[in-house]
Symmetry: C2
Subunit: 455 residues, 2 copies
Amino acid sequence: MRQEDQLPIQTLLPMQARPRRCALAALALFAACAGAGSVRAQPENGPEKGAEKPAESGALARLVGSAPFKAARQALADDHERFVAEIITLTEIPAPPFKEEARARAFAAMLKASGLADVTMDSLGNVVARRPGRDPSLPPLIVAAHLDTVFPEGTDVGVRREGTRLLAPGIGDDTRGLAQLLALVRAMDRARISTRRDLVFVGNVGEEGAGDLRGMRHLFASHPAARNAAGFITIDGSGAARITTTGVGSRRFRLTFAGPGGHSFEKFGIVNPVAALARTVSGLYAVPVPAEPRTTFSASIIGGGTSVNAIPAKAFVEIDIRSAAPAEIARIDRALHDIAQAAVDEENAARSTAMGRITVSFETIGDRPAGTTLPSSALARHAHDMAVLMGLQPAFIAQSTDANVPMSLGIPAIAIGTGGRGGGEHTLGEWIDVSKDEAVQGMAVVLGTILASAD
Amino acid sequence: MRQEDQLPIQTLLPMQARPRRCALAALALFAACAGAGSVRAQPENGPEKGAEKPAESGALARLVGSAPFKAARQALADDHERFVAEIITLTEIPAPPFKEEARARAFAAMLKASGLADVTMDSLGNVVARRPGRDPSLPPLIVAAHLDTVFPEGTDVGVRREGTRLLAPGIGDDTRGLAQLLALVRAMDRARISTRRDLVFVGNVGEEGAGDLRGMRHLFASHPAARNAAGFITIDGSGAARITTTGVGSRRFRLTFAGPGGHSFEKFGIVNPVAALARTVSGLYAVPVPAEPRTTFSASIIGGGTSVNAIPAKAFVEIDIRSAAPAEIARIDRALHDIAQAAVDEENAARSTAMGRITVSFETIGDRPAGTTLPSSALARHAHDMAVLMGLQPAFIAQSTDANVPMSLGIPAIAIGTGGRGGGEHTLGEWIDVSKDEAVQGMAVVLGTILASAD
């Protein structure tokens, strides 16, 4: 998950400009509040209480009250120490970007040890395991967590324990999610739960940063069951009440402006790539963007030049463009190309090109597809209402996660937190809290969402 | 010497816009050509031939033809091996910027060993030696070379010899100049030459880069003889026919734009320091400059930002401003300050400052005074005509050297090459050629200039 990409969806929808989606969200919230009326709101009340008081959300409330669901929850509670041990084991196998293989092999073995027979690794390194459903003709439900962390090779990934708090780089994002897949598989088996649809459990590569969602892209481009999926859930990030239904897409470029360069005094008068870069940034910052769908750009990292007494031969700027709407990303992308080319042309016209002209090249350094799952969709409602039934206060949020890929393909997809508290993602101080009740509560939300959506 | 700052003065004076100075230069060139008519132009003809054919420049030609001058030249030739050995000795004592002390102490000892009794080191580390003249009431002539190199501590400064070629970082810029001061002192002693004025020999610190001419500034600010000097010669750079009469001044700033920074998606809409920087660069590049006195600016090194998905909290640009005219430097400096402040104000007006405002700070990272010595001045003519008499083809050039400081104080000052070929200054591949005839020829130009100017 891109922790830094989290944003409550309310922020994205100004009061005066909420379209139909808002009405649907309001309906869902109404249903949720109705359901939540009879449960106690404090997470520390524990999951059992909420489960004992059936909500009005019908089938979901019946599911939560059912004996198999209760048995599965009990299994999660009984399995807690193994769950924690597996978080630690997986965390301590480094999985830097593009180097997830050791962790992938361990995870595949653990899936088998948890009872799944059909476990494979695809050519990119994604671990894919199938838990057969009752009707193999139905499209499957995919449940994923990502193998990679943001931390480079050599990072100390030893886990430190302080009471119920575990500290280590990558432990929450997203190693806890991987361990949760294992725990869910075992709990369903222990409770003898079967689903109508196949469940496809995935531990995928390449979610973070430069990984650019390559694991998920590959899965949906190559795996027949994935292309055909009925739904997709990725378990990513802390908490269990933040449901990502807006997949913020992004396109990122490094623009490199090149020119002849030369001595700042002797060659004064020749074109300067920094001047073209400056004109490009100024031009970009004059481009209008809509508030909804929220669309943004940023000139972020800049660099260039080697000496204060030299006209640079090269300068670059990195630009980040984001939106939940692919068309908006494409529009800003085109505008940026036009602006940069115009800036280069103007610089070549304004100063001498006797020693050479300014050129600009675009390198794509990130491209995450945008997409949306309506909060009113069955999948989003299941997650939302399950959180309410478990005594949590859910929120629909906008993020960039592995769910962006299926969303962009029109497949209902959400990201949901791993349950429990955590923080410091993408920092060496990353931590999670594995208090048992809170952990089981969070996993129960995911379990209920899976069971409701796979039936 | 700032090798990269060399520029033939012709480049600075477009044909259509040559003022009085050009007429004077033309006169000097005419005299030079007349004098050169009877000498052979090839350096490899050796200095003797040129010296045997008196030029029409009167007193200087008589000086060159005099027995003491001939004896001093012969002494330089006889002393050649010691000269080369001293170049090597001094080169192999590292003298990084701000760490010239070891070399300074060795140089002071070598000045004493070469016959000077009055050798001191000032509080900044400049070595100052006096060779008394016949009339101590007259202002002295200062002859300098700089102790410092551009190379950092730890650079391998071992000298490699390939025939007459010596290779080592700093060997030409300006260690050969230091050794030349020693050789000139001994040659004058051997030829029993006295001058009317005191000669003050200086091995100074802080010529290069961030040294920012601090050695020379200190000398002229604190040394009574320097403030009162009749003239100043610094021996710096290769060749003996390039005479620096235009001291290009420079002022260099690092502008740092700071703001709140934040997540590129979540905080979109806040002020961005890169946008203010871009506007500043665009504004600077619209400032008109005169062709004469040549005045330049350059946006050189840029940097800022930490992550493509973050609005930067900081960005900087380094700006180099140069001119032979102090007023032009001051004008561009003021314009830059105004432009940067306006850019910051515009950015603060254009976007949200709820999280903080953009600010800009100026750090001065270089400030070299500008100045000019007229090519028609006695000192410049002496150097010019001596070069012609020695069979060389002199050129007046514009550079930034230690001579900038006395020039800026109104003291006649030039920089002149150390004689002999060389190249690769400021690179690890720096080299000089110490062919004897060429070396003596070059030193004779300086010797004649000193003798003519100190009398």
